[in-house]
Amino acid sequence: MQLAAQAIILGVLTGGVYALMASGQTLIFGVMKVVNLAQGAFVVLSAYLTFSLFTGFGVDPFLAILITTPAMFGLGVAVHWLVLRPLKHEDVGQLSLLVTFAVALGVEGVLALAYETTYRSVQPGYENRSWTVAGLQISEVRLYAFGLSAVMLAALYLILERTRLGMAIRATVQNPTSARLLGVSSERVAALGFGLGAATAAAAGSVYGLLYPFNPGSHYDLISRLLTIVVLGGMGSVGGAVVAAMIMGVGSSIVAALASPIWSDFTFFVVLLAVLLIRPRGLFGARARGAL
C-alpha cells in the first residue's frame, strides 16, 4: 500500500513533465498534421543547453528555462522554415514524418559531437532533497518540476484561448481551409505552432535533466513514450495529452514499483496497442478531428 501510494505520487509528478512535452507534440500534429519525431530530440537538446548554462555560468535549471524556451522556439520556427515548408509533394504527411526523424538524427549527431555520448545529469545541489509527508517521500525537485509544468501548461492554455495567435491556431486545427479563407496565414501559423511545440519541449527538457541522467541517444526512449501518450489522448487534443500523460505516468510508475522497471517501458507499447484495438481515436477521440 505504502509502495503503491509512493508510486502514484511519483507517477503524478513525472506525468506532469510528460504532459508538457506531449502537449507540444500534439499541438504540432493538430496544426500541421505532422507527427514530430524530433520532439524527444528537442527535449534532450534543451537538457544539454541547461547543462551547459548550469556548469558554465551557474544558471539554475529553473531559471535556464527563460533562455532555453525562447531559443528553442526560434529553432522550431527555423526547422519548420528550412525543412518542412519546402515539402510540396502529394505525400506530405509521410515525407514530413521522415524529415522530422532526420532532424532528430541531426540533433543527436550534433549533441554527440559537442558532448560525447557519456551520460550527464544536472545537479544543482537540491536534486536529492525531499520532504516526508505522512510517511511518504516527496522529492523536492520533482514537485518543482511538476509545478513548473503546470505553469507552462497554463501559459500554453492562455496563449491558445486568449490571443489572436491562439485563435488562428485553433481555427487552423479545426478547419484549415476555412481558416485560410478567413485570412489566417496557414504557413505562419504552422511555423509559430511548430515553434510553440518546440518551446514546450524546451521547458520540459530543462527539468528533464534534473530528473534523469541523459545522453544524446535518450530521445529514442522519450519519443516512444510521447507518441504513446499522444495517441492515447487522441492526436491533436492538448487536453487529451495532459490526461493521457497522467495516466501513463501513474501506470508505468506502478508497474515499475510492483513488477520491475523493465516492464514499465513495455507498458507503453501494450497500452498503445490496446488503445488502437479498442479505441483507435484515443481517449478524446470523439473530438479528435481537430478540437483542442
Binding site: G93, V99, G109, I262
Partner: protein
C-alpha cells in the same frame, strides 16, 4: 515479368555472382556484402513502404529478431559452417508468422499512426534486447561461433547468402507486383477506402506484404549476425538500419523494382566512404541526417520515377 525484365535480372545477378571470383582486395567484397545486404533490406521495406504505401519505421526490429535468433541457436557450434544458412528459411517463416498479430493491429491504422506504432515497436524491441539479459545477453551482447571457412575465401559464403536473399526479395516483389495482390496493393496505395469499397481484400494483401517483408528482413539480419560474429542491442536493433532502408528506397524510387537496389548502390558506398574519411560516428550521423533531408526536400519521388517522368 517481361522477357526483357528476366534478361535484365539474369544479367544483373550473373554479374554479381562472378564479381567475388575476379576482385582481389578483401575490402571490396566486404563493401559488396553490405551493399547487397542493404539492397535486400530496402527491397523488403519497399513491399510495405513502397507498394502498400505504409511507411514502416520498425523494420530494424525484425532485422534484430533474425540476428538474435541466429546468435542464440549457433552460440557454440555452426557445424560445417552452412548450418546457419540452412535454418534461415525457418527463421524467416517464424518471424513472418509471429509479426502477424502486431501487423494486424498496426495495419488498421493509417500513415501517421502506423509510423508511430512501428517506431514504438522498434524502441520496445531495443529496450527488451537490453533488458532481457538471459535471452539476449543484455548490453554485453552475444557472440556466434566462428565459421570454419578458409581464410582467403572467408567472405564468399556470406556474400552469396546475401545475394540469394536479395534475389528472393526481388523475385517475391515481382511475383506480388504482377499478381492480383499487386493490383490490390496499387488500389490500397492510391485510395484505401475506395479499394475496400469495391471489394478489394485490403487487410489480406496488407498482411501478406508485411509478413513477407518482415520475414526477408529477419533472414538478412540472421546472415548479418553470423557475418559480424558479435551482436549488441544497439547495433542489432538500430534505428539507423531502419533509416537506411527507408532512405535507399526513397532515393531510388518507392514502388519500383530496381529503385531500392539503385538507392543501396549509391548510398552504401557513400556511407562507407564517409565513415572511412570522417571516422567519428557522430559526424557520420550528421552526414546521414543531411543526406536524408536533401533527398526528401529535393528528390521526394526518387531517381527512377523522376527519370521516367522526364522521358
Amino acid at each position: 515479368m517481361t522477357p526483357a525484365g528476366a534478361v535484365r535480372g539474369a544479367a544483373f545477378f550473373g554479374a554479381l555472382c562472378v564479381v567475388p571470383l575476379l576482385v582481389g582486395p578483401q575490402w571490396v567484397l566486404n563493401l559488396l556484402i553490405f551493399t547487397v545486404m542493404y539492397a535486400g533490406l530496402a527491397s523488403a521495406w519497399n513491399l510495405v513502404g513502397g507498394y502498400a504505401g505504409y511507411p514502416s519505421l520498425g523494420h530494424a526490429a525484425f532485422f534484430g529478431f533474425g540476428a538474435y535468433a541466429v546468435a542464440i541457436i549457433f552460440e557454440n557450434d555452426v557445424g560445417d559452417g552452412y548450418a546457419p544458412f540452412r535454418t534461415l528459411p525457418i527463421i524467416g517463416l517464424v518471424v513472418a508468422v509471429a509479426v502477424l498479430p502486431v501487423a494486424w493491429i498496426a495495419m488498421r491504422t493509417r500513415a501517421d499512426v502506423f509510423a508511430i506504432v512501428t517506431i514504438t515497436l522498434l524502441f520496445i524491441a531495443q529496450t527488451l534486447a537490453f533488458n532481457l539479459r538471459s535471452v539476449t545477453g543484455g548490453a554485453q551482447g552475444r557472440s556466434i561461433a566462428p565459421a570454419p571457412f578458409p581464410v582467403e575465401t572467408y567472405d564468399r559464403p556470406f556474400y552469396y547468402a546475401m545475394l540469394a536473399l536479395l534475389a528472393l526479395a526481388m523475385l517475391l516483389s515481382v511475383a506480388i507486383r504482377d499478381s492480383k495482390a499487386g493490383l490490390s496493393l496499387a488500389a490500397v496505395r492510391s485510395d484505401e477506402d475506395k479499394a475496400h469499397g469495391v471489394g478489394v481484400h485490403v487487410t489480406g494483401v496488407k498482411l501478406l506484404v508485411f509478413a513477407v517483408s518482415a520475414g526477408i528482413t529477419a533472414m538478412i539480419g540472421g546472415v548479418w549476425a553470423y557475418y559480424v560474429g558479435f551482436i549488441y542491442p544497439q547495433f542489432a536493433i538500430d534505428p539507423l538500419v531502419t533509416i537506411g532502408m527507408v532512405l535507399m528506397c526513397f532515393l531510388g524510387g518507392r514502388a519500383t523494382l530496381w529503385g531500392p537496389v539503385l538507392g543501396a548502390a549509391i548510398l552504401v558506398p557513400a556511407q562507407q566512404f564517409l565513415a572511412y574519411r570522417l571516422g567519428a560516428s557522430q559526424l557520420y550521423l550528421l552526414g546521414y541526417a543531411a543526406v536524408f533531408l536533401i533527398i526528401m526536400v529535393l528528390l521526394p519521388r526518387g531517381i527512377l520515377p523522376t527519370l521516367r517522368r522526364a522521358r
